[in-house]
């Protein structure tokens, strides 16, 4: 008898001991209603990455990750995404269609092979890619993810935008629709909006020559502020809660910060002398014009010579609209590296304007970004929306780095973990980070407790 009680005590104690359950987390929708979630935006919202729209990129997009997390706080139904039925995907490079880029080996003009982004399928035919992007999927709609690569804020309101942009055209419910017209069919109770990046990026990624920055003021469809109000008004026809994200500064993004301003490395004094002799005439002319620009080279790393159309040389001297780049100016990731290495770009030949953001161009971009972000901030306040301060976090990543779940985020190209091989769009880990920023903002604004995403469950840039 007396042993039996001892035995049972031990047994009971053991059973209890081995179940250290924790269930602290209580999901709550707070004051929001997440039943039907619709996401609008551009390529970032679409899940575009690595220079293309492709299936797993779309699945790992922040909007889809957020949609999954919202399930525990009442989101219902499938979060429909207009999937591209391909893992290589499709994107645009100039007038060409291309697949996504993956890390691979490429050999430069000097015969050196190094790890670099290469097309997943370099031999994909234009026709096949055109089919991929051109096949309508409208019948599978209505779609909850209305992110359209390339879209600017005004495009969301533009009737017939689908005929200009096949990324929208493929899922537009009617050919004449504007993106924002897709919202009504869904009756969203909750929405997210991240738009405006392309309104500066179009200008920025063309080196300030291929596009114009969207003005803040102007009618809906033209000016940033009025367009934003029109978009929000459409959502608010049914939605009682939403989140709006702001625009990261270009100086946080590897596309603009990876290539150094001074990649012209000279190790031979005779070459230095030769270059300096070559620019003696330029320097003399500048002195004569009373302009401060001088070009000089020395042993070691030298700033590149670039085209700067804003240099006020007298008429007839347009070819002298060149100068050396300064340390605070930005070189785009798209600059042909082989031309620098083997075709004297940056030393004997000035770098074309389209690969450079000059100080004045950067100032314009920053002014526009600040104005958009100020507009977004005010809109969030006035409409009681959650403000997702992506700009602040991207700045932190660029300046000090940010670590989450043991994943270190920096703005280093490829190894920074957050940005994909195109240097602008997000990796799955970057999307997880952004999804958590949305969740933090939504939780704070609506007194909700949406569970956060595990960043470590997702990949950064995969290496061969």
């Amino acid at each position: 008898m007396k042993y039996r009680i001892f035995f049972f005590a031990v047994l009971l104690a053991g059973l209890w001991a081995c179940q250290p359950e924790i269930n602290e987390f209580e999901p709550s929708k707070g004051t929001a209603d997440f039943t039907t979630y619709v996401a609008a935006g551009n390529s970032l919202t679409a899940g575009f990455a690595d220079g293309a729209l492709y299936r797993s990129g779309q699945e790992n997009g922040y909007a889809n990750l957020l949609a999954k997390q919202l399930e525990s706080v009442g989101r219902k139904g499938e979060f429909k995404i207009p999937y591209i039925n391909s893992e290589d995907g499709v994107g645009t490079a100039g007038t060409m269609l291309v697949t996504k880029r993956v890390m691979g080996f490429s050999t430069d003009c000097l015969g050196n092979t190094s790890l670099a982004p290469v097309f997943a399928n370099p031999s994909a035919s234009q026709q096949d890619l055109a089919v991929l992007i051109g096949t309508p999927v409208s019948a599978e709609g209505p779609f909850n993810n209305l992110g359209v690569p390339g879209a600017k804020i005004g495009h969301l309101l533009a009737p017939g935008y689908g005929s200009l942009n096949p990324f929208y055209g493929r899922f537009a419910s009617a050919p004449g629709n504007a993106i924002i017209n897709e919202v009504a069919a869904l009756n969203p109770s909750f929405f997210t909006l991240w738009i405006g990046n392309n309104d500066v990026l179009g200008y920025a990624t063309s080196g300030g020559v291929g596009d114009v920055i969207t003005p803040v003021f102007g009618n809906p469809g033209f000016g940033f502020a009025a367009s934003l109000e029109a978009i929000l008004a459409t959502f608010e026809a049914t939605a009682t809660a939403g989140a709006i994200a702001n625009i990261p500064d270009v100086t946080s993004v590897p596309f603009f910060t990876t290539v150094p301003y001074n990649p012209i490395v000279l190790q031979d004094q005779s070459l230095v002398d030769q270059l300096n002799a070559g620019y003696a005439q330029y320097n003399g002319a500048m002195q004569q014009f009373g302009l401060p620009y001088r070009i000089s080279f020395a042993l070691g790393a030298n700033p590149m010579v670039i085209v700067d159309a804003s240099i006020p040389v007298p008429p007839g001297y347009e070819m002298l609209k060149i100068r050396q780049i300064t340390a605070d100016e930005l070189v785009l990731l798209t600059i042909p590296q082989d031309s620098i290495k083997c075709a004297y770009w940056g030393s004997q030949k000035p770098i074309p304007d389209q690969y450079i953001l000059t100080s004045s161009e950067i100032a314009k971009i920053k002014a526009a970004t600040d104005a958009y972000n100020y507009t977004i901030l005010n809109a969030a306040k006035n409409h009681n929306l959650a403000l997702v301060d992506v700009n602040r976090v991207m700045k932190q990543i660029a300046e000090t780095g940010l670590i989450v779940d043991g994943v270190p985020f920096t703005n280093v190209f490829v190894r920074g973990n957050g940005f994909s091989t195109d240097g602008i769009h997000l990796t799955p880990q970057g999307n997880a980070l952004v999804a958590n920023l949305f969740i933090d903002a939504i939780n704070a604004t609506y007194n909700a407790t949406i569970p956060k995403v595990n960043v470590s469950e997702y990949n950064g840039v995969l290496l061969p």
Partner: protein
């Protein structure tokens, strides 16, 4: 009557408490285990060479042999902050053991040899769990060999000291952020020396014990590091590397006393002061690509004082029953807490029994149950945190033979 007595003992000690967190394992005698891991002021025959070599001077028989083993069955649960994500460990049962032999040489001197395992831990998380970049699995094991000599100064006072040769090994694996299957697996061994010393005093119905165990620094040199990474980074992160690292086994300062409340009932009280403060960081140095791979990982442990209570009740000639408990504070901080060593504030209670099988042989049974208090902990350098809760139950079995 007897039932209610046992129950009242259980209740009385279930919530009193004390122990040794970190990766210390004090399961070096089943008699001690049964009594809340007290032992510094107990005359336990040959087992005293671990708890207090001073008590070894008081051997009651000419020779005394003990051996035993415990099975640590533990589980750790984790819930990530601001998330419904949960994970739990799938820890292998670890089996600390002890073997002691001691004998008298003449009237005053005793000598003994012990082989035991006072440090170790085994934590196995899923390879894909949320904290995989901190740790996937780790196993630490140290075996101590301790020749000991003790001298009985008077009938009441014994002193003793032991020389410790420690040998240990560590195996750990963590994920690397180079794709889904990238890992770093480290495996190394070390040996080092130390000592312990103690004084034991018996005055009528009281005993007192004071004992010190030195810190032992386990320096792993040329451990094997295997990196599983994509081929394209093979030149920057070589697949096979060697590493060095140092793990301290902290010093202990123990004070205990016992009171024979009656002929049948013995009460034991004890404090262990464990100098975990020495564990400031875990540093890994690699022989190749050290600039890239070396790391200094803060741990910032702090010293802990563990109060323990135990009792022993001699039921009859054949059976002795034991119970005890302790409260062991975690030596970790809230911000440098890593899931490699999940050590929480522990509330533990213990039970034990000895069954005499004749005059010379006895069988010791013990049971230790630890319920880690739920705690919110983070490892700030990796920005990873959550709520941890741990539990362990540890049955033990031992034999004692003396003549």
């Amino acid at each position: 009557m007897r039932k209610s007595f046992i129950l009242s003992i259980l209740l009385a000690f279930a919530f009193i408490s004390a122990n040794a967190g970190g990766y210390q394992v004090r399961l070096q005698s089943n008699r001690s285990t049964g009594m809340g891991l007290t032992g510094t002021a107990l005359n336990m025959g040959s087992a005293s060479l671990f708890y207090n070599p001073g008590a070894l001077a008081m051997l009651k028989t000419k020779t005394d042999f003990s051996l035993g083993v415990s099975g640590i069955m533990s589980k750790i649960s984790f819930e990530k902050f601001a998330s419904d994500y949960t994970a739990e460990t799938d820890n292998k049962t670890s089996t600390p053991f002890y073997v002691y032999g001691a004998g008298k040489i003449g009237e005053k001197w005793s000598v003994g040899l012990g082989v035991y395992t006072p440090y170790g831990s085994s934590t196995t998380w899923d390879n894909n769990w949320a904290g995989k970049f901190l740790i996937q699995n780790i196993a630490l094991q140290a075996i101590f060999f301790q020749p000991t000599i003790a001298y009985q100064i008077t009938d009441n006072i014994g002193i003793g000291a032991g020389f410790v040769y420690a040998t240990g090994k560590v195996d750990l694996q963590k994920g690397l952020n180079y794709g889904p299957d990238a890992t770093a697996a480290l495996s190394g061994s070390a040996s080092a020396m130390g000592f312990n010393a103690g004084v034991f005093v018996a005055v009528e119905r009281l005993t007192f014990g004071l004992s010190y165990r030195s810190k032992i620094m386990m320096d792993v040199e040329s451990g094997d590091a295997t990196f599983t990474v994509p081929a394209s980074v093979g030149t920057t992160i070589p697949a096979n590397n060697t590493f060095s690292a140092s793990l301290p086994l902290p010093a202990n300062f123990d004070f205990g006393m016992t009171i024979a409340a009656s002929d049948k009932l013995l009460l034991a009280f004890e404090f262990n002061y464990v100098m975990w403060g020495t564990y400031e960081s875990l540093e890994f140095k690699f022989d190749q690509q050290g600039d890239l791979l070396n790391s200094i990982n803060p741990r910032q442990y702090k010293d802990v004082l563990i109060p323990r209570v135990g009792l022993e009740y001699q039921l009859n000639q054949t059976i002795t029953l034991r119970a005890g408990g302790y409260y062991d504070q975690s030596p970790t901080t809230d911000i440098y807490f890593t899931p490699e060593t999940v050590t929480l504030d522990n509330l533990a209670f213990t039970l034990g029994a000895t069954i005499n099988a004749g005059k010379r042989l006895s069988i010791d049974l013990s049971y230790l149950q630890i319920s880690g208090q739920k705690a919110n902990k983070s490892y700030v350098p990796d920005n990873f945190g959550g709520t941890y809760k741990a539990a362990a139950f540890i049955p033990g079995f031992g034999l004692n033979y003396r003549f």
